[in-house]
C-alpha cells in the first residue's frame, strides 16, 4: 500500500532523513517512534506531498509522490503537528470548506461533513468558532478534516501532543476506531502510546531506521541480548571473576558497575537466548568466587527504545 524506497531529505547540509526504506500494508496502524528531531515530521511531510525528497521515492497505492502528487493527495488525510485551522470559521463551515477543497461534489458535501462530525464526536461544537475550541476539540476537528472524503490512508503527526490525560485517552480511542477501517500512520515520541495503538512500530533516530516490528516482536528481538547483574563479595578479585565469565560461551560483554559498600557489581550481556545464569554461577563457584546475588534483567520496550537511540547517537 505504501512503499518507501531509499528516501533521503537534506535541509541544506543537515540531514532530515537518510536512506529510509519500508513498506506498509493495507489496514495496518503504524507508529513512527523517535526522539524529537529524529525526522518523523519530515517523513510525513514528504509522504503527504508537502515537500519533495532530496532523493529516493515513495509510492502510495501505486502512485508516485512526485509524479502523481494530486492522486496521492486524494487518497491521504493529514493532520499536521500543530493542527493549523482557520480560526474564524465555525466547525461546520470549516468542514464544508475542506470538503470542497478535497473536490467532493456539492450534493455529497452534507454527507461527508456529517461523517466527520459523527466519527470525531463534534456534534456539540458544530456551530462554535474554531478559534474558541479547547485543545481536545481542536484536535478532533483536525482529525475530522483529515477523514473527510474517507481517504484510505491517514497520516497523523503527534496526534496527542499537548492534550490532558482524559483527552489523550479519547483521541487514542478515536484513532483505534479509525484504524479498523483504514491504514493509519502516526508519529509519537511517547512509547507506551505507540505500543498501545499500533500493530507495528518503526523506530527512527537521526533520520535513519533504527528498528521495525510489532511491539511484541521488538521486545522479543532485543530480549535475546538479556542482561545479567552479578554481585560479588570481594571487589579485589574482580579481574579474576571477569576472566572466568568471559570464558563462558555466549557472553558478549562485561561492564563493571560502581561498588555498593562491600559488594562489587558486574553486568554481563549475553548474545544468545540461552539463560546463562546457571553456567555463570557454576563457574564462579568452581573458581572460588563468593557470590552475593545474581539477577536477570529484562528489557522493557522503553529500554529498547532508549538503547537504540543511545547506540545510534554514539
Amino acid at each position: 500500500m505504501i512503499e518507501v524506497e531509499n528516501l533521503t531529505k537534506y535541509y541544506g547540509p543537515t540531514v532530515g532523513i537518510r536512506d529510509l526504506s519500508f513498506k506498509v500494508s493495507s489496514g495496518e496502524v503504524i507508529g513512527f517512534l523517535g526522539p524529537n528531531g529524529a525526522g518523523k515530521t519530515t517523513l510525513m511531510k514528504i509522504l503527504t506531498c508537502f515537500m519533495p525528497p532530496t532523493s529516493g521515492t515513495a509510492r502510495i497505492l501505486g502512485f508516485d509522490i512526485l509524479r502523481d502528487s494530486l492522486e496521492v493527495r486524494r487518497r491521504i488525510g493529514y493532520l499536521p503537528e500543530h493542527v493549523p485551522l482557520y480560526e474564524e470559521m465555525s466547525v461546520g463551515e470549516y468542514l464544508e470548506f475542506v470538503s470542497r477543497l478535497k473536490g467532493i461534489p456539492g450534493r455529497s458535501i452534507p454527507g461527508s461533513v456529517e461523517y466527520a462530525i459523527e466519527h470525531c464526536g463534534l456534534e456539540s461544537v458544530f456551530r462554535r468558532t474554531v478559534g474558541k475550541l479547547s485543545k481536545g476539540f481542536r484536535q478532533r476537528v483536525g482529525i475530522g478534516q483529515a477523514i473527510i472524503g474517507e481517504p484510505e490512508i491517514l497520516i497523523l503527526d503527534e496526534p496527542t501532543i499537548g492534550l490532558d490525560p482524559k483527552q489523550i485517552i479519547e483521541i487514542r480511542g478515536l484513532i483505534k476506531s479509525l484504524g479498523t477501517e483504514r491504514t493509519v500512520i502516526l508519529s509519537s515520541h511517547i512509547l507506551p502510546e505507540v505500543s498501545q495503538i499500533c500493530n507495528r512500530i518503526i523506530i527512527i533516530n537521526r533520520g535513519e531506521l533504527a528498528a521495525a516490528g510489532s511491539p511484541e516482536n521488538l521486545q522479543e528481538q532485543l530480549k535475546k541480548s538479556s542482561v545479567i547483574r552479578i554481585g560479588l563479595k570481594e571487589p579485589e578479585s574482580m579481574e579474576r571473576a571477569k576472566d572466568v565469565i568471559l570464558g563462558i560461551e555466549g557472553v558478549g560483554s562485561i561492564k563493571e558497575q560502581a561498588p555498593q559498600g562491600e559488594t562489587a557489581y558486574l553486568t554481563v550481556e549475553s548474545t544468545t537466548d540461552i539463560d546463562l545464569r546457571g553456567d555463570i554461577v557454576k563457574r564462579l563457584v568452581e573458581a572460588g568466587q563468593p557470590i552475593v546475588e545474581v539477577h536477570g534483567e529484562e528489557l522493557s520496550l522503553e529500554d529498547i527504545f532508549l538503547r537504540l537511540v543511545k547506540e545510534e547517537g554514539q
Binding site: F50, L70, R74, Y86, E87, F97, R100, L101, K102, G103
Partner: protein, 256 residues
C-alpha cells in the same frame, strides 16, 4: 474550479469580517471624498470667476477639472492602501501553518492563488464601486460626459488589479505580512515613478522606461481613451505576477 470558488468565498467572507478591511476601506473613502470635495469646490469657485471675466473658459469641464484629477490623486491612495489588502493573502496562512495543510489537499496551486486573488480584486472593486457616488452626484447637478468617466474607471480598475497581483506575489515569498506589504508598496511605487526619468535618458532607454511606467499607461485612460497597448500592458503585468506567484509557491516546496 470548485476549489478555487471555495477559496474565493472564504477569502471574501474573511475580508468583510475583518477589522483591517474596514479600516482600509474607511481611509480610502475618506481621502477620495476629501479629494472630491476640494476639487469640486475649486471648480465651482473657478466657474464663478470665469463668469465675471471675459477670458475664454477653455478646458473648464467636469471631466478635466474634477474627475481626472480625482482619479489621479486616488491612484496614489490606492498605492498606499492596496498593499494592506493583498499582504495577508498568503503570508498569513504561511505563518499560521494552514498553508501546509492547504497544499496537501488535492487542490492545484493555481486554483488556490486564483481564488485568493479574485477575492482581493472583488474587495477592491467594492471599494471602487463606493466612489461611484461622486460621478453620480455630478450627473445629478450637471451633465458630465459618461463615457470618459467610465473609461477612466476602467483604467483605474486595471491599475488596481496590477497592484494586487504584485501584492499577492510578495505575499507568497514571505510569512511576514509587514514585509509583504512594504515590498508591495516599494515595487508598485517603482512601476509608478519609473517614467519620471524619461526626459533625461537616451531615446532607446526612454522607450523602454515609458513602456514600463504605470502612470504613462494610465494617462490615456484618464483622458477617456482606450488604447489596446495600455490595456495589454496592465493585463500582461498582472498575469506575469500571478504566474510568478504560482512559481514561487512551487519553488517554496522544493526549497523547504
Amino acid at each position: 474550479m470548485i476549489q478555487a470558488i471555495a477559496i474565493y468565498k472564504r477569502e471574501l467572507k474573511y475580508y468583510f469580517k475583518s477589522v483591517t478591511a474596514y479600516v482600509t476601506l474607511s481611509i480610502f473613502l475618506f481621502f477620495s471624498g476629501y479629494f472630491f470635495f476640494s476639487l469640486l469646490m475649486r471648480y465651482s469657485i473657478f466657474s464663478y470667476q470665469i463668469l465675471r471675466s471675459t477670458d475664454p473658459a477653455e478646458g473648464l469641464n467636469l471631466m478635466d477639472s474634477v474627475m481626472r484629477p480625482l482619479l489621479n490623486n486616488t491612484s496614489i491612495v490606492l498605492l498606499l492602501v492596496l498593499p494592506l489588502v493583498s499582504m495577508r493573502l498568503l503570508s498569513e496562512e504561511k505563518k499560521l501553518g494552514t498553508f501546509e495543510l492547504l497544499l496537501t489537499y488535492p487542490t492545484r496551486d493555481a486554483a488556490v492563488i486564483f481564488g485568493k486573488y479574485a477575492a482581493a480584486v472583488t474587495f477592491f472593486l467594492a471599494m471602487i464601486a463606493s466612489t461611484a457616488l461622486y460621478p453620480i452626484l455630478l450627473s445629478v447637478f450637471s451633465d458630465p460626459e459618461p463615457v470618459p468617466i467610465l473609461v477612466g474607471y476602467l483604467g483605474f480598475c486595471l491599475m488596481g488589479c496590477t497592484f494586487l497581483s504584485i501584492g499577492i506575489f510578495f505575499s507568497s515569498v514571505t510569512d511576514n505580512q509587514l514585509v509583504a506589504g512594504i515590498s508591495t508598496f516599494g515595487a508598485s511605487l517603482f512601476f509608478l515613478v519609473i517614467g519620471w526619468i524619461v526626459p533625461f535618458v537616451d531615446s532607446t532607454m526612454s522607450i523602454v522606461l515609458r513602456q514600463f511606467s504605470l502612470l504613462m499607461h494610465f494617462k490615456s485612460f484618464s483622458m477617456g481613451i482606450i488604447d489596446t497597448q495600455d490595456v495589454t500592458y496592465y493585463i500582461f503585468l498582472t498575469v506575469f505576477f500571478l504566474f510568478l506567484t504560482v512559481k514561487s509557491i512551487e519553488s517554496a516546496r522544493w526549497r523547504s
